[in-house]
């Protein structure tokens, strides 16, 4: 097992990930097929037609390189139809923007979106991916986005 996968698997056992599982905020779905893995994240009613959004991640180069992720249809095992992507608040529509790309999220912790968006380093300090980030950085960004104001 290469160091990136080994560290990724170790992070799945850390408190910062496990506490989200215990709170039913997120979890791994199925098996890891390195460098890809599918996670679900809770989505509050009104911001998504689903209670959970499944995201397929590519963690190549973890954690030095940021991951990239897109909404995933776990039944068809393919990218989720953009018509079913979360929508609602302007902040949600900016990130889940299939008109920009259907294979990534417009997020400061997504390696495809980060490219060419250096100002996000200051504007989104908590979520701009650095080698000290981990998978929970991305999951927290999505959770906060989709559950803002929810009970």
């Amino acid at each position: 097992m290469l160091p990136d996968e080994s560290l990724f698997r170790a992070h799945l056992e850390e408190a910062f990930f496990r506490v989200g599982v215990v709170k039913s905020k997120w979890d791994l779905h199925g098996q890891i097929n390195w460098p890809t893995a599918i996670f679900w994240c809770k989505a509050a009613t009104g911001q998504s037609e689903m209670e959970k959004i499944f995201l397929r991640f590519d963690f190549s180069g973890y954690p030095n390189a940021a991951p990239t992720a897109c909404p995933w249809d776990i039944v068809k095992n393919q990218r989720l139809d953009p018509a079913l992507w979360p929508k609602g608040r302007p902040a949600v529509d900016k990130v889940f923007n299939a008109g920009w790309r259907a294979d990534a999220l417009y997020a400061p912790c997504d390696r495809i979106a980060m490219n060419g968006h250096e100002p996000w380093r200051d504007q989104h300090k908590a979520y701009w991916w650095t080698p000290e980030s981990n998978l929970v950085t991305y999951l927290t960004f999505i959770f906060e986005l989709l559950n803002k104001g929810a009970e």
Binding site: K25, A91, D122, G149
Partner: protein
């Protein structure tokens, strides 16, 4: 792998950026403070107070259950001042109060919509996640934190 005689608990604390997963025997709950010193989660001689997440009552560690999320701190309360535009609101919270709870209180105090704001450590500081505990940012003996409530910054550009 956890055995049936153990509890897994998540411990937040003063100056801790992330919770720590602690496994301890159910029969050792009364020794939690000693165990946390042994594993380096707490240092110094001052006695700690324990709280469940978002609970104002001090916790009897013997009542801890599996997967409890707790906070240990030298402060019994944290004086939280929230700045919004030119106004400031202040309230005392237990160290285990989540940012989500404090933001709801602040939005109500300032009469704001509950969906479009974030709490930060400074006017341009890091956004704080809803599950963070206020005690993680407070230090004894000040036991006070100043936060800034700002509009959520959209991902643009």
């Amino acid at each position: 792998m956890k055995n049936e005689n153990e509890h897994e608990i998540f411990v937040h604390g003063e100056g801790m950026k992330e919770p720590k997963l602690i496994r301890l025997l159910k029969s050792a709950l009364h020794d939690l403070e000693k165990i946390l010193r042994e594993v380096g989660v707490i240092s110094g001689s001052e006695q700690r107070c324990f709280f469940r997440e978002d609970d104002a009552q001090e916790l009897d560690t013997n009542s801890i259950k599996n997967h409890d999320i707790i906070h240990c701190h030298r402060c019994k309360n944290v004086k939280v001042s929230v700045v919004y535009e030119s106004g400031v609101k202040t309230h005392a919270f237990p160290p285990s109060a989540t940012i989500k709870r404090i933001q709801k209180w602040a939005e109500k105090e300032f009469g704001l919509s509950p969906k479009d704001h974030v709490l930060r450590t400074g006017p341009d500081g890091k956004e704080l996640p809803g599950d963070a505990h206020i005690g993680s940012f407070a230090h004894f003996p000040d036991c006070a934190v100043k936060l800034y409530l700002t509009l959520e910054v959209l991902v643009n550009g």
